[in-house]
């Protein structure tokens, strides 16, 4: 087993753009669930909308800023469509409707009738030009050890993590503000907040839009190192983001970031170790495909154990536990 390589890959996951994208999506989900108490099980849809909302205008020739604004605008519209029928309903209805809406969006971008726009099941690619064009880093390879990347890879990582930092600061400031106190109040006791004359529906909608907007930006970061593939946006993606958020702590600032890093490092480590064990013949009855599946079995078990034994996550405060239902 090549431990150097396995550890190198795992350490590299700490700053990978995928980790940043999941962290950003988990921060958005934290605004929904951690702070406001909204059971959004459709976060994958916000990532999908961010991805297509960015890729389609870019492929049509739009400049970078327009494409990003388009992605955010689409996610805001989607948040309204999602929120209007569901935010008046009880939490578990919201869960089912958001998960359903996320699947509807995925079916729509996968349908063959829209191949010209969305590429159907093949997805989209070739949209990295405008982002790469504003890269200030000269061409070349930089870094040391496991952190050696070319100029484009560094550019995605820098932009991704700067956005994560900005989002964290934004959430931190928001939750310290009077607005944040109201949404946390909604999480604790909706009726109490309503009796104080606050428009609960409107606050929930604002939280949904903000978290969804962060999700759509995460969607853009997510596709920059790869192509847009509709198969990436299944409910599995939502559940992974939930695992990450709960791992770090739902109502915390650093929780989603650390949760995402741990999630990806552990996934990379288990993959490396399992593959290594299979190659060296230590696991004769398992194939490499099956090794990939073992990791997801572990994710499922980890999610269960986490929610049962430490629902507040690593950083969370037991008092600020938001499982009020």
């Amino acid at each position: 087993m090549d431990w150097g390589n396995i550890l190198g890959n795992a350490v590299g996951e700490i700053i990978s753009p995928t980790t940043a994208a999941y962290a950003l999506a988990a921060i958005g989900l934290g605004v929904h669930f951690g702070y406001t108490g909204l059971l959004n099980f459709g976060q994958a849809a916000f990532l999908l909308i961010g991805a297509y909302g960015f890729a389609i205008p870019t492929l049509a020739g739009a400049p970078l800023v327009v494409a990003v604004l388009c992605a955010i605008a689409c996610s805001v519209i989607f948040a309204f469509i999602l929120g209007i029928p569901t935010l008046r309903l009880r939490a578990d209805y919201l869960a089912i409707v958001t998960i359903a809406a996320a699947e509807v969006v995925r079916y729509i971008v996968t349908t063959t009738g829209l191949t010209d726009f969305t590429g159907a099941a093949n997805g989209l690619s070739g949209f990295k030009g405008t982002f790469a064009a504003i890269n200030p880093i000269p061409a070349g390879t930089y870094g040391f050890g496991p952190f050696t990347y070319n100029e484009y890879d560094w550019w995605i990582r820098i932009v991704g993590w700067v956005l994560v930092a900005l989002a964290s600061v934004l959430v931190f400031l928001l939750m310290r503000s009077p607005w944040g106190r109201v949404v946390k109040g909604i999480r604790e006791d909706e009726d109490a907040v309503r009796s104080l004359g606050k428009n609960v529906y409107s606050y929930k909608m604002q939280a949904l839009v903000i978290g969804g907007g962060l999700g759509s930006i995460a969607g853009i970061i997510f596709i920059l190192p790869r192509a847009v593939q509709p198969a990436n946006y299944t409910t599995g993606l939502t559940f992974f983001i939930w695992t990450i958020m709960l791992l770090g702590g739902a109502a915390t600032i650093f929780g989603p970031i650390v949760g995402s890093m741990i999630f990806w490092v552990v996934l990379s480590l288990t993959q490396g170790i399992l593959y290594g064990a299979i190659e060296s013949g230590a696991l004769p009855f398992v194939s490499t495909t099956q090794a990939g599946q073992i990791r997801f079995i572990l994710v499922g078990v980890a999610l269960m154990l986490l929610v049962i034994f430490r629902p507040q996550g690593i950083f969370g405060n037991k008092k600020e536990l938001s499982f009020s239902v």
Binding site: L39, I84, P85, T86, R88, L89, R90, A91, D92, Y93, A95, I96, V97, I99, A100, A101, E103, V104, Y107, I108, T110, T111, T112, G113, T235, G236, F239, W242, T243, L246, T289, Q290, Q293, I294, F296, I297, V299, G300, V301, A302, L303, M304, L305, L306, V307, I308, P311, F323, S324, V325
Partner: protein, 448 residues
Amino acid sequence: MIAGIRIGHGVRLATMLLAMLALCLGIVLGSGALAASASTAPAPTPTPTESGDFTTTYTIGGILRDGDTLIEGAEITVAGAGGYSEVATTDDTGRWSVAVPAKGDYTVTLDPESLPDGVQLRDPDKASAVVSATEWQTNTITRSFPLGADTRQTTGFFEQFLQRLVAGLNFGLLIALAAIGITLIFGTTGLNNFAHGEMVTFGAIIAWIAAVLLGINIFIAMLIALVLGGVFGYLNDWLLWKPLRKKGVKLVQAMIVSIGLAIALRYLYLFFIGGDTKTMSVGLSDAVALGPVRITTGSILSMIISVVVLVLVGLFLTRTRIGKATRAVSDNPSLAAASGIDVDRIIRIVWVLSGALAALAGVMLALYRQVSWDMGFQVLLLMFAAVTLGGLGSAYGALVGSIVVGLFVELSTLFIPPDLKYAAALVVLIVVLLVRPQGILGRKERIG
């Protein structure tokens, strides 16, 4: 005992459904026309690549024929980048081919004037076809031009409607079998069980192992799946949900635990049976033509079994002591416990019943559309849609919701592309919640 009244409706509804089914069969038998089968255009054979030439040649070619008649002397123009243009004429075997200089984009045009008298393009607008640069996986590309009158028979709208109606009813009954389990568990414990889809898959996999791998008769396999499904439900409750109830885990927490369980189980299935679709070849796939409707014997069987089982479940809930106790727990667990009902025992029974029903639904689903590791998860959302549509916690509602979802999934394909049919059912869910948040048959207080 409001839940009781609703479940009482369930029985009435089930008899109504039986009547509906009989009506459908009546219509089907009454009209005598046979279902039209689509005859497809003859597939063009690829032009053989010329051998003996050591430089690679790229060719575009095809065979031109009208039915079985080969067309000779028709002119086909291949045009490409840089003003490249070449005309080919079909030979006495109807073959034509053009050697092109490179892999690239080409336009292939058939000159309709060069066709013999009486032969026309089937679709006059399709006189030209495009070859794109990305298609050149091999050195030969084939293009065909369908000729002659359109021989593909189209089924009338009414026949298609009937066909979809029966399929939708079948699918709806199938969802109902599994969804009643979801609604009973929700009613008695308040849990939204996201791992219910995996109970469905469990039944399908057991039936596949028994019937296909071990070669046991499908009906016995069905019984095995039913029993093991019940055991699986019992284990679910005994190993996981009962300890969690004792621990006082909140409902949302429990819901996320069920999501974790679903992920773990789903990938466990994938680990053991692999990612490919397993064929459920047990001899129940013969198509029977009932008037304009073609239906497989498996589907007929599945509809009959679904209706019988649904009626039995309805009778169980309304007529037996345990059934009545179940409804009492659904309505008010504390009051039920105070009046001497062993709530834990009832919940255990509900889990066994739900597991068995889900496994049975899984077997039906396997007969309907084969076995795969994520088959249950694919219908989970439809089951939730059905339960939510009908009103969470209402057994009667689950049945109505399931039929609505089943019919909608199938009937929507008459108007929208088939790959959007599940999306249509989920959109209906959202729309219904917009205008009637408590679901079709739910009570207002349940929406909170």
